[in-house]
């Protein structure tokens, strides 16, 4: 790709617009994805049993709680560093399942929060779980704790807690950053069985290296949906699967489209280009670029060149050093 200071993305300026205007396509595409999710939630709610495969990490959860019970040491859970959002809710859903197991076996738990809103919700969800299990007398109000909302202060606090309480099983699920390895290392040193999942791709490798089982990326959402069987979660998961297929198909179609128009093995010359919606002959002879492809126009919502396969001999430029590659020689 030639680099031209004038052709950087910021050359197109969308003043005052609060999102990048890529034409009608982005809106329709987004709406289709939303429709996929909504449709599948509706299907799930109407009682249709939507299939979700059981991922291997789920067995590890039962095993970890079982071991903590045998050892009589607490189970420690951290729902990540982020504020209150969908990721935290999913993490707490998994923690509710863990807490349910712990409540049955009278195993102590500890939930460490880094956000005030998350702390409030976690407290409520954990208390509700004990109530549902008919073991409210086992619920310790100190089991859900707010440590700090500053990253490394939180890391220092939680690692101190892991060491002092000698946690036997630890669950790190949600958005983790640089503190992930500090937690995992500390828990490893106390011999805890660790199950982790970070929605941050960069932290997953550390969990893979230091933990016993890791739910990678979306497996985290799948686990939450599988455990709760809530129609909204199950429907969303299936809807997301459809969305992933659509995105993969779009990208693949784009790649094939680009491959076809650039002229495989020979190269093709652009004859017309579309600038700001207007089709005009190209100003200077040039080879067809991926940005001339229909699929790229569609996604970018802006101009590009149109090609004519029949015109293989472009007009020679005045520059005597210019030699088109491919079709020309």
């Amino acid at each position: 790709m030639p680099f031209d200071l004038g052709s950087l993305p910021m050359a197109q300026i969308y003043e005052g617009a609060q999102y990048l205007d890529t034409g009608w396509f982005s809106r329709v595409f987004t709406l289709v994805l939303v429709a996929f999710v909504l449709l599948n939630i509706k299907r799930a709610k109407s009682g249709k049993d939507l299939y979700i495969r059981r991922i291997a990490g789920l067995n590890a959860i039962d095993e970890a709680v079982g071991r903590a019970t045998e050892m009589g040491r607490p189970v420690l859970m951290v729902p990540g560093l982020s504020g209150m959002n969908a990721i935290v809710v999913q993490a707490l859903n998994i923690f509710v399942y863990v807490t349910r197991l712990c409540a049955r076996f009278a195993n102590p738990i500890l939930v460490c929060c880094a956000d005030a809103a998350v702390y409030t919700v976690a407290q409520e969800m954990i208390r509700d779980t004990y109530q549902q299990e008919g073991a409210i007398e086992r619920y310790d109000t100190d089991s859900v704790r707010f440590i700090s909302d500053r990253q490394f202060a939180f890391a220092a606090g939680v690692s101190g807690l892991i060491q002092r309480e000698q946690a036997a099983a630890t669950f790190f699920m949600g958005a983790f950053y640089a503190e992930s390895l500090i937690f995992a290392e500390t828990a490893n040193s106390t011999g805890a069985i660790q199950i982790a999942s970070s929605t941050e791709t960069t932290q997953t490798p550390f969990f893979i290296a230091a933990c016993d089982y890791v739910l990678i990326g979306d497996e985290f959402y799948a686990a939450s949906a599988y455990l709760t069987r809530q129609p909204i979660l199950v429907g969303s998961l299936v809807g997301q699967d459809w969305s992933k297929i659509l995105i993969a198909a779009t990208a693949l179609a784009g790649a094939l489209n680009v491959t076809a128009i650039v002229g495989p093995f020979t190269g093709a010359q652009a004859t017309f280009e579309k600038t700001a919606g207007v089709i005009a002959p190209v100003k200077a002879p040039r080879a067809v670029a991926p940005s001339d492809a229909f699929m790229q126009h569609l996604l970018q919502g802006q101009g590009g060149a149109m090609i004519s396969k029949t015109l293989t001999k472009p007009q020679r430029p005045k520059d005597p050093d210019y030699h088109p590659v491919g079709g020309g020689s």
Binding site: F3, M10, Q12, Q18, Q151, E200, T201, T202
Partner: protein, 323 residues
């Protein structure tokens, strides 16, 4: 079967932690001290394309214009972000580009940034250069608690986003920042030639979501964020990108040698053929990148050695168990 404890394999796999920490301590301290005493050690370097783009982008901003400098790091990541921030300050100050500092990640970040600005300013004064004056050359907009809300507001209207923020005017107390020479006359985001983000947190993603395509973005991120941020650079959502210590060293190399220039040391770049980007002659000595980068090689060599020792130990143990 013999007890595995006494075998060489088992010993290699369970070297005492304290010993390993001690070796690491020496491996990271001795080269640093040597480098300082020897007045700097240089390592051959070919700057990466992303850092070259970053440098070229900054060097084309006209002097006197104002850039937004979002600083989302604290002393926890000083090793990487500190070097990045020093480098960006030196480039901006040497070129006479004004800047407005703000943070959307950590309340401590603006203070850390101000300490850094003071350090670079002290160095400039020491070398007989003009100090960069708060209020006339730069302003501190402070901390904004909600990254998404703040950057969304910024995308819509610069004046509204920073409305009501005050900074210290010499001899005039706290005055509205839009009265300052730094932001006077700036009303829209498009008036700003670039937004630079020095970060150790996910605010980079938020900025891509809110500002990409509306204003040139230049990021300086930590090594851990490198792989994920590289994607945005590859898809041209970012103009330039500096990643971790290698990025800092790249930038310092470019600052010292220039790009495609006349000098024998100039970094050649095919991409910028025909465009000479001069070095930054601020004469402030070597930066953190040049101080740390040679030492990193010792640490990495130690790591590779440890991985080999551990694996040899594991192979020996396995062989022994198989027998």
């Amino acid at each position: 079967m013999a007890t595995p404890d006494s075998s060489i394999g088992a010993k290699l796999q369970s070297l005492p932690r304290t010993l390993l920490y001690l070796i690491l301590l020496l491996a990271t301290s001795l080269p640093l001290i040597y480098g300082e005493l020897a007045g700097g050690v240089s390592v051959p370097n070919q700057p990466l394309g992303a850092a070259v783009d970053f440098y070229a982008a900054l060097m084309k901003i006209p002097p006197g214009k104002t850039v937004l400098l979002e600083t989302d790091w604290t002393n926890s990541t000083r090793g990487e972000n500190g070097g990045e921030f020093d480098a960006i300050l030196r480039i901006l100050m040497a070129r006479g580009i004004k800047f407005a500092v703000f943070s959307t990640a950590d309340p401590q970040a603006p203070q850390v940034a101000m300490d850094d600005i003071a350090t670079i300013n002290a160095l400039r004064v020491q070398k007989g250069q003009k100090a960069y004056v708060r209020w006339t050359d730069w302003v501190n907009l402070g901390y904004f608690p909600n990254s998404e809300g703040t950057l969304n507001a910024l995308a819509g209207n610069l004046a509204t986003a920073f409305n009501g923020k005050k900074d210290v005017k010499p001899g005039g107390g706290l005055v509205d920042v839009f009265e300052s020479p730094v932001l006077k006359g700036y009303t829209k985001l498009t008036d700003i030639p670039a937004v630079i983000l020095v970060t150790a947190s996910a605010t980079s993603t938020v900025m891509i979501e809110r500002l990409s395509g509306k204003v040139p973005l230049d990021f300086m991120v930590t090594g851990v964020m490198g792989p994920e941020t590289q994607v945005y650079y590859s898809s041209k959502q970012l103009e330039g990108l500096v990643i971790g210590l290698k990025g800092v060293y790249d930038l310092e190399t470019l600052m010292k040698q220039g790009l495609n220039g006349q000098g024998p040391d100039a970094v050649p770049s095919q991409k910028y053929a025909g465009l000479d980007v001069p070095p930054v002659n601020d004469n402030l000595g070597t930066g953190k990148g040049s101080a740390y980068y040679p030492t990193l090689h010792f640490a990495l060599a130690l790591l590779i050695l440890a991985v080999i020792v551990g694996n040899v130990g594991m192979l020996l143990t396995r062989k022994r168990t198989a027998q």
